[in-house]
């Protein structure tokens, strides 16, 4: 295509500056562009705004059996059962922590696997976990009980591959530096990736 015609279509020169033999072609392009504009929609259809708002506001759900399991309640327990429970807790707690990224497989509840997350964030007032499993809302709060800047917390995740980040002080998002895998988050940063295997290996 003639460079002068390109310059006209780019708005760099006027129609009068084109040689006569190119003006007809320029007029054809103007008509084409006008038709192209006229053929499309002027704006978003009615109802799209409602669809979007509904999509970002999850419907309230009725409490299910998982809520029943997770709701704290007082229980009465015999001394013998207490000893057995303590032994079980001890057996789980003494397992060595390997370090480097989240650690999974402590327990499985209703198809979910508890995964332990650890991050160094000295100076943070709060650290939360957010990921595809929480619709990217800051969910599980990590704790730093001894104040050494190392925050830990556990989340019950479904087996599969999950993307996640840590949210520091409710505003600062950071990937897990200990994660072994990362993926582009589409916002110029990286999400950490954790693969959760079912405990029974199936």
């Amino acid at each position: 295509m003639d460079e002068r015609l390109q310059a006209y279509l780019d708005g760099e020169i006027s129609l009068a500056e084109l040689p006569p033999e190119l003006r007809e072609r320029a007029g054809e392009w103007d008509r084409l562009v006008n038709r192209l504009r006229a053929a499309g929609p002027a704006g978003a259809p009615l109802g799209l705004e409602r669809r979007i708002l509904e999509a970002v506001t999850p419907p309230r759900r009725r409490p299910g059996w998982l809520d029943w399991l997770l709701r704290p309640r007082q229980v009465r327990i015999s001394p013998l059962a207490a000893v057995a429970a303590a032994a079980l807790v001890l057996a789980v707690a003494v397992r060595p922590w390997s370090g480097g990224g989240p650690v999974g497989g402590d327990a499985e509840v209703a198809g979910h696997v508890y995964v332990q997350f650890t991050v160094e964030a000295p100076g943070a007032a709060s650290v939360h976990l957010a990921g595809d499993f929480s619709d990217w809302q800051p969910g599980v709060a990590l704790a730093d009980p001894d104040g050494d800047g190392v925050w830990t917390g556990r989340a019950a995740l479904e087996p599969g591959v999950h993307e996640y980040m840590f949210v520091l002080d409710g505003t600062e998002w950071m990937p897990d530096p200990n994660a072994s895998t990362f993926t582009d988050d589409g916002f110029g940063q990286r999400n950490s990736v954790v693969a959760v295997a079912p405990l029974n290996g199936t």
């Binding site: 084409l32 562009v33 006229a38 053929a39 979007i52 708002l53 809302q137 505003t171 988050d185 916002f187």
Partner: protein, 180 residues
């Protein structure tokens, strides 16, 4: 007085939901028009725009320049279009000219058949361009943006965008020869 984009972003992050509705109203037309032009299908464009706004809502805390949240939203929408087209190509090989026609909101019955023919020809020709060239051509000639505005939206250089538009025109000239 209308809130600025930065004020809207702040209000959304502080949990005031109506602010997000206002942000949607402010930018849905731009994203939708672009998505229709890129996908060639109104229903797919709605899905793409919805997904883009949901992604933006969830990642809003990561918008580094709230004053220019519109550009940031557009980039998310434009990337969503390209991701959608890639996924569609993997699923099937339907050429763009075969997807349902985009409603024009017509202006009467006279000449409607002729306009429909032209629309199909234009959509088919646009569908023959690469995603990048179609994107640049649509922004330049349908949205009427300057190269500088396009550069900000697409995070590309002005010379690179000029090259894409020039190549798109040359391709379209060949594809539409005799139809316009």
């Amino acid at each position: 007085m209308q809130r600025t984009d930065a004020e809207l972003v702040r209000d959304i992050l502080e949990g005031r939901e109506p602010a997000f509705a206002e942000l949607v109203r402010r930018y849905q037309d731009l994203l939708y028009r672009h998505a229709v032009r890129m996908t060639g299908a109104a229903d797919e464009a709605e899905d793409v725009v919805q997904a883009a706004f949901v992604k933006a809502y969830r990642g809003l805390a990561r918008c580094e320049d709230p004053e220019r949240v519109g550009s940031w939203l557009f980039r998310i929408g434009a990337n969503a279009c390209k991701d959608h087209l890639k996924a569609r190509r993997r699923r099937r090989t339907t050429p763009l000219e075969d997807v349902p026609e985009v409603p024009s909101g017509g202006d009467g019955a006279a000449g409607e058949a002729e306009r429909a023919d032209l629309r199909r020809a234009l959509d088919g020709a646009l569908g023959g361009l690469s995603d990048e060239r179609r994107e640049a051509f649509v922004l330049k000639h349908v949205e009427g943006l300057s190269y500088e505005e396009m550069a900000e939206l697409l995070e590309a250089s002005v010379p690179a965008l000029k090259m894409r538009v020039h190549r798109a025109r040359e391709e379209l000239q060949g594809l539409l020869d005799g139809k316009v």
